[in-house]
């Protein structure tokens, strides 16, 4: 595999790796170990703490705010996976058709929002979703006589969040699908066409199997990203969780617990539950994918 037999030169290697390894050890590995310990502690700010054993975990099980946060996060994740990703795939299929002119321009435009930071997207959509002054209600009102007082930011927080995230990431996911579509074997498509398979059948039996590896990766990426939702609702709802905690997410709850209340211990417990959920998700998808690939 190696093109040239690398010379055994430990000193140079460690020298080159040193900056990364030192910073990694201090600011990554050590905090990671500390977070395990913290999960079993209660703290009052960063300076003082006491050991509470499994107390945090026991509290978490009956903590209704945590379950609200988890539920909201799961709903948002479903929105990303079941609404945003199909749309992203649809756009990729359109853009991937032969002889589409202006492909680069469309791709650039659709991808651009992914570069805008979530905070700034939240600032923008916070005003777009305003009742009487926001773009969305005003536009829908002028077009369809929509209710100008439609309360996006009070009652319909979750649809608002899903819409804003859709705007930000649909093009980003489209780019992944577009790359995956390059792996669809053209001869197979042609053969299916000659056999008289319609475009839906060709999609189902030729395109979909070919893009499955990337598809699974995009789904996983989308789940991981959605589970870390924080800034979008936090800024849009003006540094709150919204009415009746409709915009409370797991990471927002972690932030409030650790940095507003000052209990870094319980915040770490929440963080570990999040991490375990995500690692479990990744492992499950991997297992699912390999067994299906074998059968």
């Amino acid at each position: 595999m190696r093109a040239a037999p690398g010379v055994s030169n430990s000193r140079a290697a460690w020298l080159l790796l040193a900056p990364f390894l030192v910073i990694f050890a201090v600011f990554y590995a050590y905090p990671l170990v500390r977070s395990v310990l913290l999960a079993f502690q209660q703290t009052f700010g960063p300076g003082s703490s006491r050991f509470v054993g499994l107390g945090n975990f026991r509290f978490l099980l009956s903590d209704s705010l945590f379950w609200t946060a988890l539920w909201n996060t799961i709903v948002f994740t479903c929105g990303s996976v079941f609404i945003q990703l199909p749309l992203a795939l649809g756009l990729a299929l359109l853009l991937n058709r032969p002889r589409v002119r202006g492909r680069a321009l469309f791709r650039t435009i659709l991808f651009a929002p992914a570069l805008v930071g979530v905070v700034f997207v939240a600032m923008m959509f916070g005003v777009i979703f305003e009742k009487r002054t926001g773009l969305l209600n005003l536009f829908l009102h002028q077009m369809f006589g929509w209710n100008l007082d439609f309360p996006w930011l009070e009652t319909y927080v979750m649809p608002a969040l899903i819409l804003a995230a859709l705007w930000q990431y649909v093009g980003f996911n489209m780019v992944y699908f577009l790359a995956a579509l390059q792996n669809v074997p053209a001869e197979l498509l042609e053969a299916a066409r000659i056999d008289g398979a319609g475009s839906w059948k060709r999609f189902l039996h030729v395109v979909l199997p070919a893009i499955r590896p990337v598809g699974a990766f995009v789904v996983l990426l989308s789940i991981i990203g959605s589970f870390q939702l924080f800034e979008l609702p936090y800024i849009m709802l003006n540094s709150t969780a919204g009415a009746e905690n409709r915009g409370l997410t797991v990471v927002m709850y972690l932030y409030q617990t650790g940095f507003q209340i000052g209990d870094l211990g319980y915040a770490s417990t929440i963080a570990w539950v999040l991490a375990i959920l995500l690692i479990g998700c990744a492992a499950a998808m991997r297992a699912l994918w390999t067994t299906e690939a074998e059968s």
Binding site: F27, S35, L110
Partner: protein
């Protein structure tokens, strides 16, 4: 034959229609943002984009104002936040890219004991969600007296494990072994070989990674929000988000602040787009 041609033309037209509508929907909020930053607050109630009037194109151009931008820079110190963002993002991007390139090159091109373990470590880290490190890092920075300092934000961002992996792949793919052999035979030290030959050859990857890390810090909110306390150190992400709390109804001001924050990034992307895309694909394809 002609029926098939008509059908083909219709299909092509519908493809373009769908793509154009999608692109328009994506561009609309951005166009609206520019308009909103120039509008007086009272005009938000009766105009979608620009206030209607007798001017050219039916727009009341004389009702537009640069007042929001003036207030941002003259009264609210957004210029300072802009400089902070530029400083934080550039330093982080440079250090993170350099360290990742050095580490990735060593893993790909040098032989040493423990290489396999570090390869493994660099990949294992990918499954750790960043919020997990928030609380312990805060505690560590407190103990190191690095809270409310720029260093407290920059240092933790300078060990990008995923970056090391990307550069490892890039170095495996795009550095010819003979070139390194030649340098070694000429008595060039390994570290110097990296800077003279290795680094220039992974430049596409470096350009892409610089942009990624720059964007990451520019758009980072939770990090500076947790680490910094003094307003004069706030980057745009925090300074602009705070405006929303104080000037909740001052829509024009909020949108002007948002525009100031995202315009540099979008321009940078448009200019560097080609390098960015080719860098990313070179890292991914030659794995």
């Amino acid at each position: 034959m002609s029926a098939a041609r008509v059908q083909g033309a219709l299909r092509a037209a519908s493809v373009y229609a769908a793509l154009s509508i999608s692109s328009a929907l994506i561009l609309t909020p951005l166009a609206w943002l520019v308009c909103a930053s120039l509008k007086r607050n009272e005009d938000f109630f009766n105009s979608l984009f620009l206030p209607a009037g007798d001017g050219l194109l039916g727009v009341a151009w004389n009702r537009l104002t640069l007042h929001h931008f003036y207030r941002l820079f003259a009264e609210l110190g957004i210029g300072r936040a802009l400089l902070n963002s530029v400083f934080l993002s550039s330093i982080t991007a440079l250090l993170a890219t350099l360290f990742a390139a050095m580490g990735g090159y060593a893993l790909a091109r040098l032989r040493f004991r423990g290489r396999r373990q570090i390869d493994w470590l660099v990949l294992a880290v990918i499954v750790i969600p960043p919020p997990l490190l928030l609380a312990p890092t805060f505690q560590l920075l407190f103990q190191l007296h690095l809270l409310d300092t720029m260093a407290g934000l920059i240092l933790p961002a300078c060990a990008p494990a995923f970056g090391v992996y990307l550069f490892r792949q890039a170095a495996l793919g795009s550095i010819p072994g003979e070139l390194l052999e030649a340098a070694r035979l000429d008595g060039c030290g390994e570290v110097r070989t990296f800077f003279a030959i290795g680094l220039p050859l992974v430049m596409p990857m470096a350009a892409a990674f610089l942009l990624i890390t720059f964007l990451g810090m520019w758009n980072n909110y939770i990090g500076p929000q947790v680490v910094l306390q003094s307003p004069q150190r706030f980057p745009l992400a925090v300074a602009v988000a705070q405006l929303r709390g104080v000037y909740y109804q001052d829509y024009g001001l909020l949108m002007a602040g948002t525009l100031v924050s995202i315009a540099p990034v979008l321009l940078l992307f448009l200019i560097l787009q080609r390098d960015f895309v080719s860098g990313l694909t070179s890292g991914a394809v030659k794995g």
